[in-house]
Assembly symmetry: C2
Homo-oligomer: 654 residues x 2
Amino acid sequence: MHSDTQQMANAIRALAMDAVEAANSGHPGMPMGMADVATILYSRYLKHNPADPHWADRDRFVLSAGHGSMLAYALLHLSGYARPTMADIRNFRQLHSPCAGHPENIELAGVECTTGPLGQGLAMAVGMAIAERHLNAEFGDALVDHRTWVVAGDGCLMEGVNHEAIGLAGHLRLGRLNVLWDDNRITIDGATDLSTSEDVAARYRATGWHVAQCDGHDGVDIARAIDEALADPRPSLSACRTIIGKGAPNKQGTSATHGAALGKDEVAAARAELGWNAAPFEIPADIAADWASAGQRSADDHAEWQARLAASPARDSFTARMAGELPADTGLDAYLNKIRAEKPNVATRKASEMALEALTAAVPALVGGSADLTGSNNTKTRSTAPLTPENYGGRYIYYGIREFGMAAAMNGMALHGGIIPYGGTFLIFSDYCRNAIRLSALQEQRVIYVLTHDSIGLGEDGPTHQPVEHVMSLRAIPNLHVFRPCDAVETAEAWGLALARTDGPSVLALSRQNLPSLSENSGGASARGAYRLRAATAKRRVVLAATGSEVALAVDVATALEGQGIGADVVSMPCWELFVEQDAAYNADIFPDDALLVAMEAGVTLGWERHVGRDGLIIGIDSFGASAPAPDLFAHFGFTVDAIVPKIIAKLGV
Amino acid sequence: MHSDTQQMANAIRALAMDAVEAANSGHPGMPMGMADVATILYSRYLKHNPADPHWADRDRFVLSAGHGSMLAYALLHLSGYARPTMADIRNFRQLHSPCAGHPENIELAGVECTTGPLGQGLAMAVGMAIAERHLNAEFGDALVDHRTWVVAGDGCLMEGVNHEAIGLAGHLRLGRLNVLWDDNRITIDGATDLSTSEDVAARYRATGWHVAQCDGHDGVDIARAIDEALADPRPSLSACRTIIGKGAPNKQGTSATHGAALGKDEVAAARAELGWNAAPFEIPADIAADWASAGQRSADDHAEWQARLAASPARDSFTARMAGELPADTGLDAYLNKIRAEKPNVATRKASEMALEALTAAVPALVGGSADLTGSNNTKTRSTAPLTPENYGGRYIYYGIREFGMAAAMNGMALHGGIIPYGGTFLIFSDYCRNAIRLSALQEQRVIYVLTHDSIGLGEDGPTHQPVEHVMSLRAIPNLHVFRPCDAVETAEAWGLALARTDGPSVLALSRQNLPSLSENSGGASARGAYRLRAATAKRRVVLAATGSEVALAVDVATALEGQGIGADVVSMPCWELFVEQDAAYNADIFPDDALLVAMEAGVTLGWERHVGRDGLIIGIDSFGASAPAPDLFAHFGFTVDAIVPKIIAKLGV
């Protein structure tokens, strides 16, 4: 390394050591190992402007190996971002510091996404790179022309989601995606050869990637590899051969540097080794100046881009798109009026497609897809042509059989901005992408999951494909709105609510089977999460709460009860999270104390006690499903009027 | 194909068409496409005995592309297994037929595992192949010397878990694992090139696999490829180029044959094309005889093996191992006596290691591992040497950063028999392997998940690593026992209960932080799932129910309440599922109606109403966590005596 550059890198090493030491917790090994690569990237390649971290055309930098968070914090601080301040870094891993243990997009501008769950940073970067090409196709080079950079570790490359992500990136020829692999050959358990014998370069090449290799501690060689990567039209992996914990003379190259403070003595030895004489958390003025200068490297680009934007006829539409604004008319109101009149008897997955036909025609930001279940998830519309290497302007992604990769890519698109991603799979396979759904929620991103075949109602495919615990399990994830609409109107309303929500994801759990129209006169009560769909005629003694396909059954049960003089309300609960936001009076009105509270949902009973209490009656399924035609299954599991009414009457003690 | 073999294959095609047609539901394309390959495998290579489907030394056959279930049912029926009968096949996909939509090990002997969730069949096969080599190392070629065969489709190869599974198999050089890839270049959405451009062969080679290729409709070529695979010491992928729906003249080669009945006309056309004149569900006698003969191909091997077993000094130990029996003394009782006396103040992850030290010394079937968190999960013991290609007799697997692959491999080991697998990762990353945990439960397998760092108590790593919804979400999975022990004694008891359980998996959710000994005098009450750890001294007005690390807090809260004259029971609930099995009287005794019921768990509140009702008080965390030292976090989220006591007093209306 050139001596100036070397000291810039050592500034990262020093901050990483100092912060981890102060917290007595954290991961010094990775920032110290990748300090040289990161310094070359930030000082010579990365297009960004610390003064405008939200610059739409900035390069995206993703620290997929999120445990090396001090690398990100050091880079942001040194290159001149307002935050983190040195005080923030001193409070690394302390309550209320934006310098969390793993980088969080919601804590710091400049942290493009929340990482730590391995592999997903890279997979989100794939989504960002898709978003870049898509918006480039729409708005042109003048406004959208940037790269996506990733620092990834061995963990990111071993995780299964990596396979899905790089397969998608290779297929879509995302040449502006550049992964810098921290090839240190160390994992937590020890040397990588404890658990893997893979030829990583060959694997990446097999999926359509360019692969370069370099000495990750030699600035000239690093730059050569990056230049090679930039010159190649394929997405690139640069294998940067590094020494984990580089600079800590007695511990470097071992997993001892990975996830614990180096200790006072080793820090002192490292300072000597690096020739770093400054006090903890202090950066010598000349090195700080070099970093400040590096942080200015794209200032001219930024100014020119702003001028182009100001002069662009697309200025307003581009700005609105990147701000995540919806058109004044999303097409939904007209569509809702239509189906309220027509009352279609359709599966809610079909109703979702109908709503999407209207929405995708009016909302260009909507980019859809499916993990190879397009015809089953009903996610493709006439407005959404395939997004391919030949047509990045397309708005429909054939994700392949890659649920986790899809979900992570959607997170990346949402984080990039300019796109509202939605994607489909079977509800059961939310298991395959569950942690990405969680990251949608944690990152507060508007990602919409179209999860069809939402119960035993899918029928013959059997228990491997029948979600029973999934709706409730998804409800358990914080900041996720889970909709299970009962008909076409509630489905359209769910789409409207999911789109209007700018601070988190939504799941639409949709039926395979047809469902009658029930909510056409509800006046949009879905927005309250739960509402009285039918009021008791006789004196109310029962409240029947249900979701999705069971709402129609609840209506039938209510009718049967009323026929015996037992008054019964029917409550549709399309979204628990919205209901919980209502006030106590509304809750008490919907679930009164003076009636038998009955829940009906073709899934696990656990959780329903929240609404019907320990004394309520819960009709659910606390076992795995079975393979049979759907009507046989509903009968088998007791979801019939004949099975339910006697239970209610017995419970009432009539 | 030789004409006899051709007709044997056509028998599979006919049964697949007929069964799907009768059900008007199912997947004919895959069985028809792979009929030739499967016929060659079953008639010339597979070591099995239809009369003894549980033969310990049989080859394992895994239909990873489980939607092609009729391939499995046809093969079992034709080669002479008692079930499925033709009546079973006629009832394909109907209630109570063992011929479910996707193959289920719990329905049919000869179905080695439950498949359908793509990729996992292959990943379970990796576990079976590990089990074979491990038991071979222990019991020798005379008793254990078989292969694992897999039929996999494009979906299985695209799923992320495939990457993890083949990486592990290549690293462990599982040369007796043979994957037959149904290379039909069709997925549900259409041609594979809609979503992938991968050079599959190159990818497999990069991970240490041998790759052969063949015409999947040419018997000679299929056999050549398999012979090549058998001759190579590496695990093998045979790319069998096939036509999906082969034989259906107007639909073959298209996704139209994938997941729907062909229709009456196309079935008739296919019968003509195949020269198949028999009525539906009828097999001509000569073809049936050929199949019956094929089914006998390993009869001599089977007899010789039985003779070897009978003569083996290891007979009893081998038989007991394969039957899943535990030694009379597992070492646990002595260990429990010791810690009941010593009352160690340790993290439950450490307590788990201590229990495992005793158990692994006494129970040779225990084979452990971790997804690269060995030192954090505390899963390695002195008795468990690494399992490597040089020492398959080792009992500890460095799974690498492959949670999903690990979980699926554990399922495969348990299904194989002879091994009780346990494996560790952080509780948060149960998300990454959730569907495999589900398959442990659905398949009723004794797999033990050691999931550490079970709450915000892990501290500084922050919200990406802090499970809040995970314990409750796992409780929602049917047939899964979720333990969250409060101290070393409960941890050891959880291990005992998990080992004693032969019909399903268990999760141990364990703390990172130290916890005081509390349950040393409980007398094994863990087995009831919940029990009164401390009885109120003053008149009981409150019951404090808690799990894991919050039990100690509950004791402190109770002490504070008692100090104010408010009697409070403390209930420890290490396993909800066991508690639910208790009778109503026990439930009423633990959670009486005449006390304020309070729940305390550092996770989502959803679900706790089951025990404390709508009127109870639930101290939980309904948001994501934060990055800070654990004590700061517990204080921040209100898990202190000072924060909780006033809430209880307010709720009591004192």
